[in-house]
Each structure stands twice: as C-alpha cells, then as structure tokens.
Symmetry: D3
Subunit: 135 residues, 6 copies
C-alpha cells in the first residue's frame, strides 16, 4: 500500500462570520478574521492504493489532477468562499470546514484508490487534516 | 554599507478591476483575477546603512518592526484592499501598485537608514520589486 | 475529527553533553554537537477535536497561540536550553527529548481538544515526532 | 516512542516506460514522462525508537547518515535510475516504486530502531509514502 | 520602474560532459556530474517596465506565461538537455549556460517590458543569474 | 558575466552584547537577543565571472565548496561565535557584522572569479547583504 500525495493551490477571499451573531460578537470570537480578507491556500490530497503491476503507478497523476481541478480547484480558486460556494453560505469557512468540504468532494472520486487524507494550509503557520472520521 | 532585509506577511482580499470598464472588459483584461479573491502576501523591505560602531546594527529590528507594522501591515492585513485602503479605491491593486504603495509609506521612515527595495510576493510564483525609481 | 496544526519558532543555544562522561567521550558520542552551538527550531503542535457547530473551529487560534507561547515558547526562545531549562540540566537536550518536554508542557492544556502530536525541526534536515506513547 | 526523520537529496535521470509496450502506448500512459528527464528527489526516512537513557538519542545521526548514504544515496544520486539500478531495469521507476526500493534497502538496517516510513518527493507537488505494508 | 518576476519549473536530464575529452578527463573535471542525471530546475524571469496607467500592470501575466512556456519551458521540460536542445549538443549544459540560453530565447520577447534578469536554480543550493552582460 | 550563487548552512550560538555596557543597557538595546541563544544560519555566496569556453563553468563547485568550508563554515559551524571566533570577541556578532566577516574571509579566494555578494539569513525573516562597499 502506497500513499500518494499531490499538492495544489487556490487563492480565495473569505471572512469568519456567523450571520446570526452581531458584528461585535463576531469580532469577539474571530478577531480580525471577521473582516473580509484572503489567502493562498495549499491543498494536499493523499490517496492510498497498490501500484499497478505494469505501470508502477497508484494513480495517473494527470487523471488525478483533472479530477481535483474540476471538483475542488475550479470551485474555490479566485472565489469569495462565503458567497460563491453554497455550503459556506451557512457554514463558517474555517480551514477545518474547508478540509471537510474537500473530503466530501473527493471521496470515491478516483477509481482504484482510496482517499486517505485532506490537508489544507491556510498560511505557512496553520493547517488542518481530515481523514474522513465521522463522515 | 549593509543591506538589511526583513520579511513580513499580510493576508488580504482584492480583485483586479477598473471601475470605468465593463465587467466583460475587466474579465478580458484580468481574467479570473477580476473576481474577488485573496492572497497571503509576503513583504520584504530592505534598508541600507552603515552598522553602528558600538552595536553592529544598521537598524534596531524591533524599531523597524514597529514602523512597518504601523505604516504598512496594520493598513493591509485582514483587509479588503480595494475598499479599505484609500489609494486602491481608484488604482488597481496589482502587486506592482502595492509595491509602490509600500514604498511611499516607508520612504524616510527609519532614521539613519535608506529604504533600498520593496519586494512583494503575491504567491509563490510572482513578485514585484520597487527601488523608488521615478518617485 | 479534525487535526489542527500550528507552527511556531524559537531560537536557542545548546550542546549535546553528558556531564558524567569525559570531554573525549562526549566528543566521541556527539561529535561537533558536543560544542555549544544553536538552532532556529520549528515547533508544530497538532490538536484533535470536533469543530464547534457554530464557529466551525476546533480551537481558537489566538487562545492556542497564547497557551503555547506561555508554556513553551517563553521557556525556550532566546535561551541556553542546558542552563535555562530545568529538565535539561540533567537530560541531554536532543530534539527527541525536546519533543517530550513540549508534550509534557502542552498535554491537557487546551480545553476541548486533545494533543495529538508534537513535532520539532532542529534544522531543515531533521525532526522528531512524539505522540505521547509511553507517557 | 519517538519518530525521528532525516531528509536527504539525490538528483537522477529517469523515464516512465514499459519496454513491452510500444512508444505510442507509453506516450499514452505516461505522457511527457515517457521522455528521458530528471528530478531533484527529496528523501525522508523515519525511524522509531526509544531515546537512549544516557544520550537522549534514538539513533546517532552520523551513523544513520552513513547507512542511508551507502545503501540508498550512493545507489541513486547522479544516476540514470533505469539503467544504473538493477530493479528499475524491469520495473518502472515511479515515485511509488522508488519508495518501495528505499524501504527494502533500509529495513532492519539501523540497530535499535525500526524503519517506520519512507517518503520520496519527486518535485514540490508530489510525494509517495511507504510504511512497509504488504512487504 | 517596477521589476516583475515570475517563477516556473522544468524537469530535465543532462550530464556535464565535453565530447572532445576522454571519459577520465570529464570525470576529473565534472566529478559525478559527468554521469547522466537530472534536476527539477526553477526558472525566475524578471522583466522591468512601468505599470500601465489603467491596469496597473507591467505585463499581463497570462501573456508572459504563454511566451515563456512556448519559448523556454516547452523546449526544456521533460527533455534530455544534451540531446534534445540544439545548443547543448555542442555546449556543456551547466546552469551558467542554461541561464544564457534562456536569456537569448526571451530577450525582446515581451512588448513594453525589458528583460532584466534570468535566474536558474539547479537545486536548492545553487543558482546562476544572467543580466545580459556581454550579449 | 554570470553570477553564480552557492548556499550553505551553519549552526551557531551567540548573543548580542557589548562588554563595556551594563547588563541593563544591553537588555535595553538588544532585548532578548542579549541572552545566549542560537541560529541555523544560511549563507549565500555569489561569485561573478565568465563561463570557461570549454567547461561552461564560472567556478568548479567542488573547489568553491572546499574554499568556503575551510575559510568560513569550519570557523563558524557548531561554535559559540562570541568566544570561538576572534573578531567577535570585540565586535557584536550581528548578522550585519557576520556578513562583513564572511566577505573578508572570501574576497580574492577563488581564482578567476570575483566575490560579488555575501548574504546571511539569521532566520526565515531576516538577512543581511554585503557587496564589499567601503572595504
């Protein structure tokens, strides 16, 4: 069993804000993150599988790239997460919830390989990992 | 003469958009960058000077940090550049114009040292340098 | 369950040296690391938890930062590990033992989240992970 | 139990090519990777063990470096993987198969520590992990 | 005047070898680099110009990317430099000569901007800069 | 003319401290840097020259590495800068003064190439450049 990881990028705007709370409460909970701002997110997707006996590959990287581009990157890149992505109209677009979002978009998407982990870096100092636990 | 460089970060939302042009023209010129999105910007400021004979330092880094924080980072971090920063209400917030903005905010700001270069990385693949030429 | 990781830095001096052994024996075991030298350490702390249903966060990053700063960074940063940190007056300050030290300082420190892993990079080529096994 | 990781590098040429298939079929499966090209590979080897009570070390890094250099780096660095390394005369030198190769060369090689993971980065965007599962 | 830099990548095989010298002489001059091996090269191209008064841009990045892709990346990526690139059939494909090659391919290629510098990283520890001096 | 840069590392302890001043004055000037601490320094040395017509190289990297190792790295690596390096017994070991020290050790050291720049990173956020101006 080999775990193959591919890194990609997307740049997006967002804010951490709960609509049912007042601006002051949001400010208290999320600090300056309650302002509209943005990030260069780094996404790492890890798939587990056995290398094919002939090709030595778990996944064709070009196929993987096309799947992740269509299902994730095209949804998030150069977007305002809170307005352009349905799920974040009601959920807060934390890096934790982004990791779950990407998991839901990619699970069972690649034939012959199992999604093992989604990692999202919000900046150089913070990242969230999701292994599908509880999904 | 020593050139001392300090790196800092800010995260901001913006879009590349000329208000006097139509959405279609903006889309044609700026592509997906005409959508609201965001970045983790990296800022490098370089000051030139002679190290002090006693302390061996060109600048006190803690003083430099306080100056750059007040004059630049606090203006740009966790902001929507195009709405929260006056100059970008009329100018397009390209990385080129951001470099000029930072130069104007920092020139002659540090006693005993000369601002030599402002570098801003918009992402891992693109950065702009400004040396004050033409200012 | 989401695993949230935060990276921080500290710069410290140390040497690898067993007081009960001779300088020659220390030199033989630890090589040039038996000389006083220093590092920019990078610390990654990972906490596991369920995102809060309202805020979408496992931990408030500002609270986490304050806890790690007080319990770890303020103890180690700009210090001589072997003289300024009690435990390293008797134990050798290897990156392995540093990982255990940080674990002991952070376990059960963050309400609502479980410490999952402590990773310390001594330099770009070496790091130690501790998951609390055997503690 | 501490997991200690050491990073090293090697630069090598290779292509992804199955000799029993036609050039067209190889082109279809592997794309431009069926051309001879090359990489700066990054290798991370992780060994698990208990720190020695006296030295605080799981492994002597200088001993580890010597073992990995002799068993792996000297075999792969500044080589054409497909011609200079026996196993890749018949297997395709994907990053997946390279991870297995390194595992086989390093398993049980370090007294007192257990090989836990081999990670190989082919470039900044792709890496494979092998934990010995199925070996 | 703003200096805008764009980073790109290519992966290629090569060796340092002078055909008119014996294998032993090549080995003596170039060491293990006289073996066929390969790298993930990083290319930085810097263009200087005045930002357009309307768009705030020195260059349209999408146009720049297309030019560099066609003139440089497509010539070098996933290639054996010494066999697939005409100039390196007679010149040695050192990182110095690669920088000159890229300069010659990109000079005067971008309307309204002047090529200022070509930087090529052969690996994390070595890079060559060429400013067109002597061309 | 090509500018070739080579990066190397050294790990060292130091403090910023002027012996003729009181501990309180040192604390006021240098803050926590007046405590003994340490860094993983990164050194970049840049040499300018014309590539040799036969070999395509400005410098033999193996020769350069040997020179820098003997003249600089062996003097600074795994040392306490303030006690083990003569010049820093009287000068403060700031990154500015370290850059001048390295310049003095390397100027005119490499036959056929001119030392152009010494850059030293003290950590990921700070570096000093010296071009020999005033030497």
């Amino acid at each position: 069993m080999i775990y193959l990881t591919r890194k990609m990028h997307f740049s997006a705007a967002h804010r951490l804000y709960v609509d049912s709370l007042s601006p002051e409460e949001n400010r208290k909970i999320f600090g300056e993150c309650s302002n509209l701002h943005g990030h260069n997110y780094e996404l790492e997707v890890t798939f587990a599988g056995e290398p094919d006996k002939t090709t030595g590959m778990v996944i064709h990287l070009s196929e993987l790239d096309a799947i992740v581009k269509e299902r994730v990157i095209d949804q998030l890149d150069h977007k305002n997460l809170d307005e352009d992505v349905d799920v974040f109209k009601t959920e807060v677009s934390t890096v934790e919830m982004l990791a779950k979002y990407v998991w839901d978009r990619l699970e069972n998407s690649v034939p012959g390989a199992r999604l093992h982990r989604v990692r999202i870096w919000e900046d150089d100092a913070s990242f969230a990992d999701f292994y599908g636990e509880g999904r």
